[in-house]
């Protein structure tokens, strides 16, 4: 009795599965894009640009990642894409070393790999789409902070995670600029927020109570800026503790208009996603080769390449005067 049922069930599932198989065959060009955290508005605006580029180029775009910044899940997603046989994998690495073992495996299978936003190990990818040099970002942040504080006083940094490679680079250049140009300013603390607004808010609150002379909070991850602003607003410290940071205009518009946040510094994230897809497809089609000095990306025009870095351009400062002109 049991074995009869078993056989019937087996047959049923075979028939069912057979019916589905026909739809699976696909030979469209596939670009798979891995964000650090897929719900993060920063990466969603990268995706908006990437979608636009994919549409223009007629390729299929997969966009999947961990819901939190989790290196293990990033690896599992990349390994899945390898067995799905995608053509290009574009990654924003949560952890350089961790992701690179999976990326090397992808390269060994003939998949083209490109990094964007946060670089992987150089031997595990062909190019890195560099949204801005760490020096450009670090200096712009520090200069803006110094300008707002009158080049004097204490400030603190809220970062995504203390391990992420791009955050550490920015922090390094912030410190270099601080030491060489602003001797009367003092960095009192650097706190991680795990790329979460709530955590950034509680860290900002803790920083303000631990450092009564704090003049400015600098958040160098996108959820950190509104998080810090909310903390300042709730503590009634608007104007006394200034907020600046790397973030998205839309997330910060409210706080900029309320006068809590003074400046938001960033590059155009949609352009970053757009350029990444163009570069990935050009690479896979053999149009972009090692040693190239420039690349043309659709409606955005030409971008400069130095060695294996494709540069997006200079950072941009959003403030009360211009933030409403941007919508991402």
């Amino acid at each position: 009795m049991k074995s009869l049922l078993f056989r019937l069930g087996l047959m049923a599932s075979l028939i069912l599965a057979g019916a589905v198989r026909g739809s699976a065959a696909d030979s469209k060009f596939v670009v798979a894009m891995l964000p650090k955290a897929k719900g993060n508005a920063y990466f969603l605006s990268c995706k908006a640009g990437a979608d636009k580029a994919a549409k223009e180029l007629g390729v299929e775009l997969l966009f999947d990642g961990p819901t939190d910044s989790n290196a293990a899940k990033q690896n599992e997603i990349v390994e899945n894409w390898i067995t799905l046989g995608v053509d290009v994998i574009a990654v924003a690495a949560e952890n350089k070393e961790g992701i690179s073992t999976a990326l090397r495996k992808a390269q060994a299978k003939g998949i083209k790999v490109i990094a964007y936003d946060a670089d992987a190990m150089p031997d595990s990818r062909s190019f890195f789409v560099n949204q801005a040099t760490p020096q450009g970002i670090g200096y712009a942040l520090m200069d803006e902070a110094a300008r707002l504080c009158g080049e004097e006083g204490e400030f603190a940094i809220i970062t995504a995670s203390l391990t992420a490679s791009n955050q550490r680079e920015w922090e390094k250049h912030i410190r270099i600029r601080l030491v060489t140009k602003y001797p009367r300013m003092k960095l009192v603390a650097v706190r991680p927020s795990d790329d979460l607004k709530d955590k950034a808010q509680s860290e900002a609150t803790a920083l303000m109570s631990a450092n009564p002379n704090l003049k400015l909070l600098m958040a160098i991850c996108s959820p950190g800026v509104p998080g810090a602003a909310e903390a300042v607003k709730q503590a009634g410290m608007t104007g006394k503790v200034k907020v600046i940071g790397l973030g998205l205009p839309n997330e910060n518009k409210r706080y900029v208009h309320e006068g809590v946040t003074d400046s938001v510094i960033l590059w155009n994230t949609e352009s970053l996603g757009y350029l990444t897809v163009y570069a990935g497809v050009a690479l896979a089609k053999g149009e972009l080769k090692v040693g190239a000095s420039s690349i043309t990306a659709g409606s955005l025009g030409t971008f400069e390449i130095t060695e294996d870095n494709i540069f997006l351009g200079k950072p941009f400062i959003f403030n009360k005067s211009n933030i409403d002109k941007f919508d991402f």
Partner: protein
């Protein structure tokens, strides 16, 4: 020690649960084989490739080990929520001993296993000596171990650059299978023998049924309980080493949330959360059913286009677990209902084959 009188009944039920689960697993696998495999430019891709099958093995080794560790614990009607955090702590200690302590990989690994035993020993001491409930004790150590891992690394240090010979364990194949799968099989065989072929295993079930009864029967209940928690710590440490080798990094967030996947696998495998009944092979089937579901979904074109394989697999894993629980309770409820109608009063409760 043998079980109470309806022994044959619930043994048959247990067998049925596992047979059912095996059937679900095969059906699942076949479905994904046909629906999740396709051809791109003349090459087979997706679920049906050998690479994918090996990836499933590689991705499920750590959670599988934790599920093996939890089976004896849950058989004694206990629980260990700290295994995922202990995995993280052992990974960090292993990385630190090798990177900063200058120890060789095998020595560092042996030390990590020792720390795993110590962590499990802390749980065991609190549970047996102070008679505190395992749920609360391991909820405490769940935070404690993860906190220690973060404190040791200041939340910032990630140990990487492990030698290729060590990474082999997590990333390459040995004798046809992913290297870590062999280690997993050895641990699985050892736990199976312990639970099903020794008096220890029988004592775990006896304790799970009734700790007082087991004590009156002359079983050293405290020592047996201590054994299962220390064993869980040791296995968590082995999982930590495999995890580190697979990712090539040891970071304080290693294994976050794995304990819940492992408990799900154990319960799906037919082990009662109230203790007393269950099996190691059921746990292995539970691990496989969840791993195939999770990895198979990621290969379905319709799911990859939604970019939400992880989320959908979470929903379906939950549904599968609830379905399995309902299916296993249903026949018993039906027979009780019939008995009540015949005699006009309920039968005395029998052990729950949940």
């Amino acid at each position: 020690m043998s079980s109470p009188s309806p022994s044959r009944d619930w043994k048959a039920l247990l067998l049925r649960h596992e047979t059912l689960l095996l059937f679900v697993l095969i059906a699942e696998w076949l479905f994904f084989y046909f629906a999740g495999t396709s051809s791109r430019r003349g090459v087979d891709v997706g679920f049906g490739t050998l690479d994918r099958q090996f990836d499933i093995l590689r991705h499920s080794c750590e959670i599988g080990l934790l599920a093996l560790a939890l089976t004896p614990v849950i058989l004694t009607a206990g629980i260990d929520l700290s295994v995922g955090s202990l995995l993280g702590l052992c990974a960090i200690l292993f990385g630190k001993l090798w990177h900063d302590g200058g120890l060789s990989i095998p020595v560092a690994a042996a030390c990590a296993v020792g720390f795993g035993a110590l962590g499990g020993g802390l749980n065991a001491a609190l549970i047996t000596a102070l008679r505190l409930p395992p749920l609360i004790v391991t909820l405490g150590t769940y935070s404690l171990f993860r906190g220690l891992a973060e404190a040791i690394t200041h939340g910032a240090v990630t140990y990487t650059n492990f030698p290729a010979r060590f990474l082999f364990l997590g990333q390459d194949r040995w004798l046809g299978l992913p290297a870590q799968a062999w280690l997993f099989l050895v641990v699985a065989a050892a736990v199976w023998l312990l639970v099903h072929r020794t008096t220890f295993g029988r004592s775990f079930r006896a304790i799970g049924f009734s700790p007082e009864g087991a004590r009156y029967a002359g079983l050293p209940v405290e020592r047996r309980l201590a054994l299962v928690y220390v064993l869980a710590g040791v296995i968590a440490a082995i999982a930590a080493i495999i995890y580190t080798a697979r990712l090539g990094q040891a970071k304080a967030d290693a294994g976050t949330g794995y304990e819940l996947f492992a408990i799900t696998a154990v319960v799906l495998g037919g082990t009662s959360i109230f203790g007393g009944t269950g099996s190691v092979h059921g746990t292995l089937l539970g691990v496989a059913a969840i791993a195939v579901l999770k990895n198979g979904l990621a290969c379905l074109p319709s799911v990859t286009r939604l970019n939400a394989a992880e989320e959908i697999s979470g929903v379906l894993t939950g549904a599968l677990l609830l379905l399995a629980l309902t299916a296993s309770v249903f026949p018993k409820m039906l027979s009780e209902f019939r008995a009540r109608r015949q005699t006009g009063r309920p039968r005395p409760p029998s052990p729950q084959p949940v």
